[in-house]
C-alpha cells in the first residue's frame, strides 16, 4: 500500500462566476521513502494539490488516502489532529513563531502532541543538531539567516515524527548556497532515515535533486517520471 494515494481527486473552486477546476481528476501514488517534486507553471495546480495531500484542503471529488486512512471526508478538527501526527510542513516563508527560539519552535510541535517537557526538550536539541544548528538553539528567527530558519522549519517538521514531509517551495527565498545546503540536508534525511519528502517547486535546483518529478498542467498530471539526472548519479 502506497504512503500517499490520490484516486480521481478533483478540486473545483466555484466562488466566482465561472467554476475553476484547480485539480482535475488526479490519480497519484507516492511510496514511502520517495523524494518527489511536483512541478509545473504558475496556476497549474501545484499548491492546491499539495494542500490536498497535506490535509489543508478538502477535495471536491475523489479520495485521498494517507498511510491507509481516507482523509477526504475528515472534519476540520480531525484534519488538524491528523496533520499533527502524520504530516510535517516546510513552508516557503519559513513561518516560524517569531517570539520563540529555534529550540522552542521545534519543541512547540511536541507540546501540541502532549509530549512531556523533558522529553521534548531533549528531542528538540537532537533535531536541531541533526539540521546543523546545535549552536543556535537559543536564537530567535530574527537572529537567523533564511537558510538557518528553513533548517529550523525542517527540524520542526521532523519533530512530530511524521509519515512524510511536505515542502512548499522550500528554496524559493534562499540563495543558491543555502538552497543547496538545505537540499543536501533533506536528501540526507531521505537516504539515511527513509523519510519521504514531497515538494512543490519550480526551482530547477530542487527539480535536479528530486528522484521523481510529477509535472502538472491545468490541474492534470502531464508527466510522472523518474528524474534522469538522479538515475545517472545513482548509477
Amino acid at each position: 500500500m502506497a504512503l500517499i494515494e490520490l484516486n480521481d481527486v478533483s478540486k473545483i473552486y466555484d466562488g466566482s462566476a465561472v467554476p475553476v477546476k484547480a485539480v482535475d481528476e488526479v490519480t497519484l501514488k507516492i511510496e514511502k521513502g520517495e523524494f518527489t517534486a511536483i512541478v509545473g507553471p504558475s496556476g497549474s495546480g501545484k499548491t492546491t494539490l499539495l494542500n490536498l495531500i497535506g490535509g489543508l484542503d478538502q477535495p471536491t471529488n475523489g479520495k485521498i488516502i494517507i498511510d491507509g486512512t481516507d482523509i477526504s471526508t475528515f472534519k476540520p478538527d480531525e484534519l488538524i489532529n491528523f496533520r499533527l501526527h502524520h504530516i510535517g510542513f516546510v513552508f516557503q516563508a519559513y513561518n516560524l513563531i517569531p517570539v520563540f527560539t529555534a529550540k522552542e519552535n521545534v519543541e512547540f510541535i511536541m507540546l501540541l502532541q502532549n509530549i512531556p517537557k523533558s522529553e521534548r526538550e531533549k528531542k528538540a536539541i537532537d533535531f536541531l543538531e541533526a539540521v546543523g544548528l546545535k549552536d543556535r538553539i537559543n536564537s530567535k528567527p530574527s537572529e537567523l539567516s533564511g537558510g538557518q530558519q528553513q533548517r529550523v522549519a525542517v527540524a520542526r517538521a521532523l519533530a512530530s515524527t511524521p509519515s512524510f514531509v511536505l515542502a512548499d517551495e522550500p528554496t524559493a527565498n534562499l540563495d543558491s548556497v543555502s538552497a543547496e545546503s538545505l537540499l543536501d540536508l533533506m536528501e540526507g534525511l531521505n537516504s539515511k532515515h527513509n523519510m519521504t519528502f514531497v515538494f512543490s517547486t519550480h526551482d530547477q535546483r530542487v527539480i535536479n535533486r528530486a528522484h521523481r518529478i510529477v509535472t502538472l498542467e491545468d490541474g492534470k498530471i502531464k508527466s510522472d517520471v523518474l528524474n534522469p539526472t538522479y538515475q545517472k548519479n545513482e548509477a
Partner: protein, 404 residues
C-alpha cells in the same frame, strides 16, 4: 508553553500593548476613585448624621412613634440604659426628653424640637458640643441655658446670652412657657438641623413641667457602625415592649440615598467597562489581523482551534491583568492620599449642608469592593477577546498561510 507564547505575543508590539494596558489602568483607577468618592460621600452623610443627633440606635416607647407626645415615655428607662451599657462596644448612652414646641425671640418665632439632655451624657453620644461656634456648650453659670443652631439664631435675630422663650405642651396638656438664655450657638453640616433643634438641660425642663425624671428617647453610641447589629438586636429582643431601631431604620432616606449612590456607581463603572470592551476588542482584532499567516501556520502544523482560541484569550487576560493590577495600585495610592488629606469642597458648603455632608470629603473604598471589580475586568477581557479569537479560528490554514 502556551502561556509563554501568549505572554511573548503581547510584547511583540510594545507600544500598542502599553496603550491598552494604560487605558485599562486609568479606566479602572477612575472607576475605583469615583466609587471611593461616592462611598466617602456616603460615609460622610452617615457619620455626620450619626454624630450629630441619631447615634447608632435609639429606644422609644412604641406609642412615641405615632404622635411623638411627651407623655409617651419609656417605662423603666434606667433599666434599659443599664442593659445597653453592659455591652463593651457601647461608648455612650444618653437619655432625652423630647418636646415639640415654638422658640420665640422679641421679633419672631420658629417651630423647634426641644431636647432635654444631660450634657455630660450627651457628649458621649453626639458631637454637638464640638460644633459650638459661639459661646459654650452649657456651664454652671446660670439656670435655663439653651444651645441653639446658627440658622435659628439668624432667623430669630439671637446672639450669645440673648433671651429666648420656649413654648410647648406640658404633661397635663397645658401650654408651658419658659425663658431661656442662649449659652452657645452650634453649626453642623445640616442647615435644616441647625434651624429646627435646640438643646436644654434635662433638669431645667423637668422644673418647668414640674415632673419627676422620665425619658422619651434613649440614644446609644458604639465604637463603630459595624457593631450595630451585635448590640442593638439583643436589646431589641430583651425589650420587646419598646421600639428599638438602628440608624438605618431611623433615617430611611439615607438608605434610599445609599441605593442611589450604588446605582450611580454601577452605571459609572459599567460605562468604563463598556469603553474598555471596545478598546480591548480593537487591540486584539488588530493583533489577530497582523498575524493571519502565523495562525494559518499554527493550525496547519496541528494546533487545535480551541488552543488558538485559548491563546488569544490568554493574551487578552494577560494585558487586562497587568492593566488591572496597575489600575488597582494607582487607585489605592490615590484613595489613600485623598483619604488622609481629604478633598476640600468648602466652595460648595451651602449646597452640601442640604445633604448633611461635611465640606471635606474623604474617599474610601471597602476592600471587599475590589474583587468584584477585578472579576468584571476579567469578564470584560474575555468578552473583548471573543470576536477576534473567533475570527482567528475561522481562518482557513491553506489561504491564511499565504497571506502577506
Amino acid at each position: 508553553m502556551l502561556f509563554t507564547l501568549a505572554w511573548r505575543n503581547i510584547w511583540r508590539n510594545k507600544k500598542r500593548s502599553l496603550i491598552i494596558i494604560s487605558a485599562i489602568a486609568v479606566g479602572l483607577c477612575c472607576g475605583l476613585f469615583a466609587s471611593a468618592t461616592m462611598f466617602g460621600m456616603w460615609d460622610s452623610i452617615i457619620n455626620t448624621t450619626i454624630d450629630r443627633d441619631l447615634g447608632h440606635f435609639q429606644v422609644h416607647s412604641k406609642n412615641y412613634e405615632d404622635e411623638k407626645l411627651v407623655t409617651d415615655t419609656i417605662p423603666d428607662f434606667e433599666n434599659v440604659i443599664t442593659a445597653i451599657k453592659k455591652s463593651k462596644d457601647v461608648i455612650g448612652v444618653s437619655s432625652r426628653i423630647i418636646l415639640e414646641g415654638m422658640a420665640s425671640s422679641a421679633s419672631t418665632s420658629n417651630g423647634v424640637r426641644i431636647a432635654g439632655i444631660n450634657p455630660d451624657d450627651e457628649k458621649n453620644v453626639t458631637s454637638i458640643f464640638k460644633q459650638v461656634v459661639k459661646g459654650s456648650y452649657f456651664d454652671e453659670s446660670w439656670k435655663n441655658q439653651i444651645v441653639i443652631g446658627e440658622k435659628l439664631a439668624d432667623n430669630l435675630g439671637l446672639r450669645e446670652k440673648s433671651k429666648i422663650v420656649l413654648s410647648f405642651q406640658g404633661i397635663d396638656g397645658s401650654i408651658i412657657y419658659g425663658a431661656f438664655r442662649v449659652v452657645g450657638i452650634f453649626k453642623t453640616e445640616s442647615s435644616i438641623f441647625d434651624k429646627s433643634n435646640v438643646f436644654v438641660k434635662e433638669n431645667d425642663l423637668l422644673n418647668l413641667i414640674n415632673s419627676k425624671i422620665f425619658s422619651n428617647e434613649i440614644v446609644a453610641r458604639l465604637n463603630s457602625v459595624q457593631q450595630v447589629d451585635s448590640v442593638y438586636l439583643p436589646i431589641k429582643k430583651e425589650f420587646k415592649n419598646l421600639s428599638v431601631k438602628d440608624w438605618a431604620a431611623l433615617a430611611p432616606e439615607l438608605k434610599v440615598f445609599y441605593e442611589i449612590l450604588i446605582t450611580e456607581m454601577n452605571v459609572f463603572v459599567g460605562i468604563i467597562l463598556f469603553a474598555l470592551l471596545f478598546g480591548i476588542t480593537n487591540t486584539m482584532l488588530m493583533s489577530v489581523l497582523e498575524r493571519v499567516r502565523e495562525f494559518g501556520m499554527l493550525m496547519a502544523v496541528g494546533m487545535k482551534r480551541s488552543r488558538v482560541f485559548v491563546m488569544i484569550i490568554l493574551e487578552t487576560i494577560s494585558l487586562s491583568f497587568i492593566g488591572g493590577i496597575m489600575g488597582v495600585l494607582l487607585a489605592l495610592g490615590i484613595i489613600e492620599y485623598f483619604g488622609n488629606s481629604g478633598i476640600n469642597l468648602s466652595a460648595f458648603t451651602e449646597g452640601l449642608s442640604m445633604f448633611s455632608m461635611s465640606p471635606v470629603l474623604y474617599p474610601s473604598l471597602p476592600l471587599s469592593f475590589y474583587p468584584p471589580i477585578a472579576l468584571m475586568i476579567f469578564i470584560t477581557a474575555i468578552l473583548g477577546a471573543f470576536y477576534p479569537a473567533v475570527k482567528a479560528i475561522k481562518l482557513k490554514p491553506a489561504t491564511a498561510i499565504r497571506t502577506y
